[in-house]
């Protein structure tokens, strides 16, 4: 039986998040102290050696990102914690912030030291008002204890826009504008918040940092899959017995996730499909269940790990209806800046709606495939590029379901 491994959730349920002394008593902020005795370069090297990769979806090497920001010379730099968590079915960052906010601040402060930034922001989605209070209280306590030194952290609140999780849209939002993605390059590590070098990291990524500094890169790199080491928090939704969260090593297979941790499908029904990574994720069929959840193993089957949302459908579910709903999500959340996404998401939804209501033809499926391909190449940001994923993967892997609904 595969086992949970709590690295980022190390303090879950063990400390009172609103008492900094609890965090200190379990060794909290020791890693920050240790990092500050090391050279900035040595801290970055440690993170690079750990092979930690971003948990926000793109899987970029965290230490490498820090190295870029470190190299860019400027009098002002920023560290941003991306707490916009908007992928449907995902609530891991909320769990982390609710239960262990200081672990995230510690990660931010270590990053700040490494790249030479004295200011950090937590950009928290507007759907988590209770968290804003927790975060602000925890920051206040850290300041009272003088623990952060000259590193300042400020909380900013979103206002209901999925696209603001995209790092450059997030920067625009903090600056007080519409959350429309910027054209990259320049990347945030060169020109980020207010055009200053900025590291944007996901909540879960940052929560790993103190552990790496504390226990060493080699310890971390030995956990899970070699090219995407460590653990991942998964949140299980849909037709699965244990609709809850788990933190597991990244070499765990999808089958173990659904049938061991998830306890299988309720009511003796058969598994039909699983979508991993939220609305942006691919639908995966039974023949790929033995794939490991690590970033590269998922890429190898043309799928993604993404945010770690695991959405299971049993044999009785109408996957065309679900995919239509997902198409509606992207139409709603498209920011409208670039034409392929603004128009494309509306047309994808229109065509899916037509198919779902039994009025579609084989020609519509051909059109969806073509439009989806064009969008995945031409859209400005990851939102539009991933918008066709659920459609394209269900057309490919569940073609019978489409056939059955044709006019």
């Amino acid at each position: 039986m595969a086992e949970e491994m709590r690295v980022v959730l190390r303090n879950y349920g063990k400390i009172n998040p609103l008492k900094i002394t609890d965090y200190l008593s379990v060794g909290g902020y020791e890693a920050l102290k240790k990092a500050r005795t090391m050279t900035r370069k040595a801290v970055i090297e440690e993170i690079i050696q750990s092979k930690l990769r971003g948990r926000g979806g793109a899987g970029f090497n965290t230490g490498q990102k820090w190295a870029f920001a470190h190299k860019t010379q400027d009098d002002q730099k920023y560290v941003i914690c991306n707490a916009d968590e908007g992928e449907p079915g995902t609530y891991k960052d909320r769990m982390l912030m609710e239960n262990d906010p200081h672990a995230i601040f510690e990660g931010m402060a270590i990053c700040g030291y490494a790249i030479g930034a004295n200011k950090g922001y937590v950009y928290c989605r507007g759907e988590y008002p209770h968290l804003i209070t927790i975060l602000k209280t925890a920051i206040y306590q850290a300041k009272q204890h003088g623990i952060l030194g000259d590193f300042d952290i400020e909380v900013r609140t979103g206002a209901g826009a999925f696209v603001c999780g995209e790092e450059t849209a997030l920067l625009e939002s903090i600056e007080g504008h519409r959350g429309e993605p910027r054209i990259r390059p320049p990347f945030p590590t060169q020109k980020g918040l207010w055009q200053k070098p900025t590291v944007v990291n996901n909540v879960e990524t940052l929560a790993n940092i103190p552990v790496i500094i504390d226990k060493g890169a080699a310890h971390f790199a030995a956990i899970g899959a070699p090219t995407y080491p460590g653990t991942k928090i998964l949140t299980l939704t849909g037709d699965v017995n244990n609709r809850t969260f788990f933190e597991i090593p990244t070499n765990t297979t999808i089958r173990e996730v659904i049938f061991e941790f998830g306890g299988g499908i309720p009511g003796d029904k058969k598994f039909k499909a699983v979508q991993i990574g939220g609305a942006s994720g691919a639908f995966i069929a039974a023949n790929s269940l033995d794939t490991q959840i690590s970033f590269d193993a998922m890429s190898a089957i043309n799928s993604t790990l993404g945010s770690g949302a695991v959405y299971v459908l049993d044999e009785t579910r109408d996957i065309i209806d679900v995919t239509t709903r997902i198409a509606r999500f992207f139409e709603h959340e498209s920011c409208g800046k670039c034409a392929p996404c603004r128009e494309g998401t509306a047309r994808l939804h229109e065509l899916m709606w037509k198919l779902n209501s039994g009025r579609g033809s084989a020609k519509d499926i051909t059109l969806l495939k073509k439009l989806g391909r064009v969008m995945s190449i031409t859209c400005l940001c990851g939102l539009g590029q991933a918008a066709p994923t659920a459609i394209l993967t269900t057309i490919e892997r569940f073609s019978d379901d489409y056939e059955a609904k044709l006019m």
Partner: protein
Amino acid sequence: MGYKQILDAYKNIPGGMIEAFNAIQDIYSYLPEEAIIEAAKVFNVPVSKVYDVTTFYSMFSIKPRGKNVIRICQSAPCHVAGAAEVVAALERELGIRIGESTSDGKFALETTECVGQCQDTPVITINGKPYMGVTPATVVDILAEYK
């Protein structure tokens, strides 16, 4: 606190307009026109730019709406868990459709995408407070808390 004081409190924070609007909505439930015009002055930007921002974010409303804002999650996990029945029950119970407010000004009914409480679907929020595992039957009790 009135909108003027709120705007004043945020005027020196770089990019603070969105923070100010969140705070104004907590009190007014929407963004009154006067507040938008005042924000343009305080943050020294054209009124059109303020509308540019307010209309971008789904949680901001520039139209008056009911005091208690009910949002029903429509994302796929809530969708298969019966969100449509919850929508129907709320519409029936309040006598309004999605996008409308009750005539006594108490409730506004809206849809939303995932609010990150997917451990127990379907989910609704009222003024940001989540209610999980909602059914057409429990909706009535939940509404009673706000009547």
